[in-house]
């Protein structure tokens, strides 16, 4: 493994340096039918789950085959995607905002061979490499964060629960059988890199124990004022602690005030809070980002805590399935999960989904909490 230089000279970092060039320009990569008809599309149809056709003013059509996949992807897998794109699509492809892969062809005759090819490819372990689906009223791919694979603050894994959940929801990915689209997202801690707070169903990692304090190292590894300032609830204050007969600077945590956000840990590695029993999953439901019919909505916490159960998180996937099935059965056509819950009332939502309502689900975080309490006599028995 001898070092091979790229041409970069560490002694003269500015020599031949290229910077601030930004991304490659989008139209370098357009398939010809896209380049030609951009801005002139008339309508689209979803021929069957996973297969779209877009029709342009010119009469041109482009067929898109959408397939799911893990966003965690090896170069081996990407090379296989490239091979498929070259075999069927003149080397063109794209990814969606929900980590699906889209192969586009301008000739209808190319659709079936492409579909057959995609569906035939499996990993050695038996799972599909390129399951086709994720359109219309299906449940499409779950957007998610890094989890235990690459993050320092997660309260759960990401790729694992996503795989387990999509296995359980697979039929919903393949079929258009829900009243409206249903978006599932996962964020592995409440910092929500995945911004799951407006999803029909959100899987959220959550810590439940305040940080441990590594007093001996805290002042050496951290800027104590930054750790104190990082706390959104002002639960951290400076403290002197005796270690081996010596007074050292450290912090104290007012534990009842801790909301377990891990911001202090982000600022100070001597305040770890991860814990096998403390950490787990919160389920939120009823959010959306679309302005269709009703305004965008936040997701609401419907299950306060489910323990982490690697490798397949069975309780989490059971709860999700319960919610999806109740929604499938109860909602009107076009009605999103949150709209359904609001129409029938949240008291009915818990009944229909067979979820227990606990005191944790009543908001007590700052001013907005008041607006979630019921200020009317209108409710259902």
């Amino acid at each position: 493994m001898a070092f091979v230089s790229s041409g970069y000279n560490p002694d003269k970092p500015m020599e031949n340096r290229i910077s601030d060039i930004g991304p490659r320009k989008y139209d370098d990569f357009y398939p010809p039918v896209i380049a030609k008809n951009k801005g002139k599309w008339l309508y689209h149809d979803v021929i069957k789950p996973g297969v779209l056709v877009h029709v342009a003013e010119s009469g041109d059509k482009v067929w898109t085959v959408r397939c799911g996949g893990a966003r965690l992807m090896s170069t081996t897998h990407i090379r296989e995607i490239c091979e498929i794109a070259e075999k069927h699509c003149d080397g063109h492809l794209r990814f969606t905002t929900r980590n699906n892969i889209e192969f586009m062809v301008a000739d209808e005759k190319k659709v079936d061979p492409l579909l057959k090819d995609l569906e035939s490819r499996k990993f050695a372990g038996g799972s599909f490499k390129f399951p086709v689906g994720g359109t219309g009223t299906s449940i499409t791919n779950i957007v998610h964060t890094q989890g235990w694979l690459h993050c320092h603050t997660p309260a759960t894994d990401a790729s694992g629960p996503v795989k387990a959940t999509m296995d359980v929801l697979f039929d919903y990915f393949k079929e258009h059988k829900l009243p409206a689209k249903l978006r599932v997202s996962l964020a592995c801690c409440l910092n929500m890199c995945g911004a799951v707070h407006c999803s029909d169903i959100a899987i959220l990692g959550y810590h439940r124990k305040p940080p441990m304090l590594d007093h001996e190292y805290l002042d050496k590894m951290c800027e104590i004022p930054l750790a104190i300032a990082a706390c959104p609830t002002a639960a951290i204050k400076p403290a002197k602690v005796e270690i081996g007969g010596e007074k050292v600077n450290s912090v104290a945590v007012n534990e009842p005030r801790c909301m377990f956000c891990g911001n202090c840990y982000t600022m100070c590695p001597s305040m770890p809070l991860a814990d096998q029993e403390g950490d787990g999953i919160v389920i939120m439901a009823g959010g959306k980002v679309s302005n269709r019919i009703s305004a965008p909505k936040f997701s609401k916490v419907v299950v306060a805590f489910i323990p982490n159960e690697p490798p397949r998180w069975p309780k989490t996937t059971d709860v999700i399935k319960q919610i999806v099935e109740a929604y499938e059965k109860g909602a009107n056509k076009y009605e999103r999960l949150g709209e359904w819950a609001e129409r029938i009332g949240w008291e009915r939502f818990f009944e229909k989904c067979e979820l227990e309502f606990t005191h944790h689900l009543i908001d007590d975080f700052r001013d907005p909490a008041y607006f979630t309490w019921r200020q009317t006599t209108q409710f259902k028995f």
């Binding site: 601030d20 090379r79 794109a85 490499k129």
Partner: protein, 437 residues
Amino acid sequence: MAKHKTPLLDQLESGPWPSFVSDLKQQAEVRAKNKEKIEFQIPEDVVEDLLGILELSFKHGRTHWKHGGIVGVFGYGGGVIGRYCDQPEQFSGVAHFHTMRVNQPAGKFYTAEYLRQLCDLWDFRGSGVTNMHGSTGDIIFLGTTTRQLEEIFYEMTHNLKQDLGGSGSNLRTPSDCIGQARCEYACYDTQALCYHLTQEYQDELHRPAFPYKFKFKFDGCPNCCVASIARADMSFIGTWKDDIRIDEEAVQAYIGGEIAPNANDHSGRDWGAFDIQKEVIDLCPTECMWMEDGKLKIDNKECNRCMHCINVMPRALRIGKDTGLSILVGAKAPILDGAQMSSMLVPFVKAEEPYDEIKEVIEAIWDWWMEEGKNRERLGELMKRQGFQKLLEVTGIDPDPRMVQEPRSNPYIFWKEDEVPGGFTRDINEFRKYHQR
């Protein structure tokens, strides 16, 4: 023979959904065999060790990654996230495992040729493990060593004409929906605007000078497929001002059942015959549609462009022609002070190059936020702290009822001195002439 036993992860190889475990295992094998005789610049067994340390997390129920260190490329303050594992003796291949964010092309269109170039570079100088794509939109290269960072950056800029994305307290890599490239609902060219602003603000993207992260996201229409309203400090959402275009013949075809509603999105279940009254007109949130002499009528002035009728009947109804975008500001995920969605600031602006009007709003907001924002305070939090009026003041935008859901329900208005005739300075003695103590 795998380097580490992974009995827990192995259970994620079964089931229909693509298994990341199977993918990582095939990658580990490809590296071990190294048929292409690549002179790997980071440990050959990096993927084996990644699987090993992930298995350990599955066993412990805790992550084994430490905080990022300060690593990066010369002259940039973002784009690279340092990552080290806390079991370097056992998993030496991932002892140093830094992330690089690579700025994705707008719309996420690719050619196989270009993707292979990325793969070649990443196999040679990194783990060969990626995210396609990260939450913000970047192509994520997961796992390389400090020494390779400059080498990767050099090859990327020189050979691939490709730059890094953002991280830290800077402009994060902007991202967009597919837009006009392949969507009939797009009200402006999301890719053009996304690319233009990304290029315009390269300095802000690479060199952290902000109080915290700042995100732009571009949605072509109110369907909001990139969730800009939930995720972006500035959300650019396409809209139109004039009338929805109606093709009455196509309306009849929907009514007659010749065309499936909602682009056939409900095909997996028998919902009965399409009923335009029940499925479109009665669901219109502003009740601005009706049938008259067998024709569909829309009172466009009352329409709030929710997109429902257009989504249901894309062949019959099209967005208007006078298109542009709305700018909403201040969305963020929960930390620190709870989740916020973006709030309406500019109801309508044309989206035409060189986008000067849009840039004026952006720069006025940045000036205010950089002056007044506290460390790690997002724009939405500053807006809450200093008020929407302050936002109007710094952007010079006139108030408009479209900015609020409803007017305030308390009368506690902070009148300013110059708003009250005569000002605040008064003579108490003059007052006392008429009002005894």
